[in-house]
């Protein structure tokens, strides 16, 4: 299988790449930081001698950088869109650049990029599309609703795409992570029980791909947390500090 990853430099992405490489899948890594991708390529090709890794430049907020990629990589079996930008909600309210970056990275760029491969996959009658959305897209909250609305839009897009491609033999997986821990958060006030490590997230996603799931929450119980959060009536929710 050939796997193309958009936003390949993140912690979660690296864990996921190792899981694919261990199965002998070839990889295409895309990001703005090609230098780091080259390091990643060396790392994967040293650890897994039989895996071929290609790297290239892609800026998801600049659709002019898309066409060379579409022309260059024709044979893709699995597309993973993991690029994301949290940004600063307060700043985004005042600064159009910041708001645009959040919307473009998490939604507009994602839709424009995925559309191309969705149509290719549909023509061929096979393929898997994995989109990293977020639990933040399940309900608008005062603390991060610019990001949340982009992710919410992305979730709806993936949902529609899944239904659209279902009869054409193409699978679409929506990933909704909750808190993800990194080493730097160990002294922060993140609720430990709710927080997943990049490795756990990658494992959950990898399993969901293999099992051809539609939606995966990671950690799994976020599904129920979000169910409850969605059930809170708006007149109460708006008074809560979330």
């Amino acid at each position: 299988m050939k796997v193309l990853v958009v936003g390949a430099n993140s912690d979660v992405s690296r864990e996921l790449l190792n899981l694919f490489a261990a199965e002998g899948d070839d990889l295409i890594l895309l990001s703005r930081d090609v230098e780091n991708l080259k390091l990643l390529k060396k790392d994967i090709e040293t650890r897994y001698e039989d895996v071929k890794v290609e790297v290239d430049y892609l800026d998801v907020t600049d659709k002019n950088s898309f066409n060379p990629i579409f022309d260059k990589f024709k044979e893709v079996d699995c597309l993973i869109y993991i690029a994301g930008y949290l940004g600063d909600n307060e700043r985004a309210l005042l600064d159009m650049e910041e708001a645009e970056k959040i919307l473009n990275t998490n939604f507009t760029g994602a839709v424009l990029f995925i559309n191309h491969f969705a149509m290719e996959f549909a023509k061929r009658g096979s393929g898997i599309i994995v989109g990293f959305s977020s639990v933040a897209g399940d309900r608008g909250k005062s603390s991060n609703f610019i990001y949340g609305s982009a992710k919410g839009g992305f979730s709806v897009y993936l949902q529609g795409l899944r239904n659209y491609l279902f009869k054409k033999g193409v699978k679409v997986l929506t990933v909704k992570p909750g808190f993800i821990a990194t080493k730097m958060t160990e002294n922060m006030v993140l609720p430990k029980a709710l927080t997943a490590s990049p490795q756990e997230v990658a494992k959950d996603v990898f399993r969901a791909i293999k099992k051809e799931k539609d939606i995966v929450y990671t950690k799994w119980f976020w599904k129920f947390i979000m169910l409850i959060i969605k059930l809170i009536p708006e007149r109460i929710f708006k008074k809560m500090n979330m």
């Binding site: 390091l39 990643l40 993991i82 977020s134 808190f179 993800i180 080493k183 730097m184 160990e186 993140l190």
Partner: protein, 442 residues
């Protein structure tokens, strides 16, 4: 997706002994250009790997955390030479190497250390008497020095910096890449032989008689005095040759919380030591052992440092010159067993010659002890310091958190002066330092 990562965070950190604990700016190293920028913009920097040195070696105002700078850069399977960035751990290397029929040439008693840390501490293992310390498996490394230049070092190139970086505790610069040589093996198993020694005299004899074994180390019961002073079990090992290179997935358990300080007291330590000695029934014991169990018995219990409670502990490791080892160790063991503050785990080993000029090992016997931190144990350690000094021995900086600068300077004498000259040459502005540096070298 929400990720709470920040690049530079003020937080409390400590070494493996949990003492001392300090607040530091911790910078997560991910990319080389960001690292170079960081190094050029701040003073008082120290690189840190997994924080497995026990004391204050990896503590400073600015700490460069290399635990995520872990990339494999290439492997020459003919020569067994592996190129990695300095944050790669020995654990990752073993997972890579063993299925390919290779093993670390030198490994300390934990695999949870980075290559950069292993070089800076010049770690040693159970085969020091045969194969030397970590320096013996390092072909070359790249290091960022005080003016921000990246220098490649080997036995041929920048050799002064190469040699004094081993045991240099990160004070000569920031190691970013290394080439290390692996050794060929033909099994994940170790052919183990255990021999009981009734006292110090006997364990010394056994070490000398068995010097041709690749791996040797002794566990010693330091609470026994009198005729049984130094009773111990000598553990010997060779790589087996059964062709089985399959790694088993092992479950690790973690110490779930800080044990209250009364858990490890004189009584329980004594009981543990007696049990441990009696576990092997006969004089000799032979078996095939998994490499993990032989080399890394404590790694299967994650965060075992919490056993000593919240106050933490310190490890006391020293070496004495071979000809004075027996008398010195006898005096030290008598002092310890007399005090009653026995160490939970005490490890004795005979070192061979050491090639690196500013490193801990020297030909002679080394003893490593753990003590829970308290006024009494710190006083005991100071008494022991004087005995170590009297017999011409020295302490291991990677374990130390408490020694005085005067003791250190006397112990390391000339070699410290040479070290300071090399440091002056490559880091004249003292960009790289640590709390240990200020405590011992100043």
């Amino acid at each position: 997706m929400r990720s709470f990562e920040e690049d530079d965070v003020r937080r409390k950190i400590s070494g493996w002994g949990l003492y001392p604990e300090v607040e530091a700016e911790v910078f997560m190293v991910k990319k080389r250009d960001e690292l170079m920028e960081k190094i050029s913009s701040v003073q008082n920097i120290i690189a840190r790997g997994l924080g497995r040195s026990y004391g204050d070696s990896s503590l400073n105002d600015h700490v460069l955390d290399f635990s995520k700078y872990d990339f494999f850069l290439g492997f020459d399977s003919e020569k067994g030479i592996l190129k990695v960035t300095s944050g790669v751990t020995l654990d990752e290397i073993l997972r890579f190497a063993i299925p390919r029929g290779f093993f670390l040439k030198i490994t300390p008693g934990t695999k949870f250390v980075t290559v950069g840390g292993a070089i800076a501490s010049n770690v040693h293992g159970k085969n020091h008497h045969r194969e030397g310390s970590f320096s013996s498996c390092v072909k070359s490394f790249k290091i960022v020095v005080g003016d921000g230049e990246i220098l490649e070092c080997s036995r041929e190139k920048n050799s002064d910096l190469f040699w004094y970086t081993f045991g240099g505790m990160g004070l000569t610069g920031v190691i970013i890449e290394a080439e290390i040589e692996l050794k060929k093996i033909n099994s994940v198993k170790i052919d183990y032989r255990g021999i009981k020694a009734e006292n110090l005299d006997e364990v010394f004899k056994l070490f000398e008689e068995n010097a041709n074994y690749t791996y040797s180390v002794a566990w010693i019961d330091c609470l026994k005095g009198g005729k049984s002073l130094g009773r111990s079990i000598l553990m010997l090992g060779e790589h087996a040759d059964d062709g089985n290179l399959t790694l088993m997935d092992k479950k690790e358990i973690a110490v779930p919380f800080f044990f209250p300080s009364f858990v490890l007291n004189k009584m329980t330590v004594k009981a543990f030591n007696t049990l441990y000695y009696s576990k092997q029934i006969g004089k000799y014991s032979e078996k095939k052992m998994d490499f993990d169990k032989f080399f890394y018995p404590l790694d299967s219990i994650l965060e075992w440092n919490k056993m000593y409670g919240r106050r933490g502990f310190f490890q006391y490791q020293f070496v004495l010159p071979e000809d004075r080892s027996f008398d010195g160790l006898k005096e030290i063991l008598e002092e310890i067993s007399g005090s009653g503050y026995g160490s939970f785990l005490a490890v004795l080993k005979l070192f061979g010659e050491e090639e690196a000029p500013f490193s801990f090992p020297m030909k002679g016997y080394t003893l490593a002890l753990d003590f829970p931190l308290s006024e009494e144990t710190l006083q005991l350690a100071e008494k022991l310091d004087k005995i170590v000094l009297k017999y011409g021995g020295r302490h291991y900086l990677s374990k130390d958190s408490r020694m005085s600068g005067d003791i250190f300077k006397e112990e390391y004498g000339e070699s410290m002066k040479f070290f300071l000259k090399v440091k002056e040459r490559y880091d004249p502005g003292e960009k790289f330092s640590s709390i240990q540096w200020r405590r011992l070298f100043k």
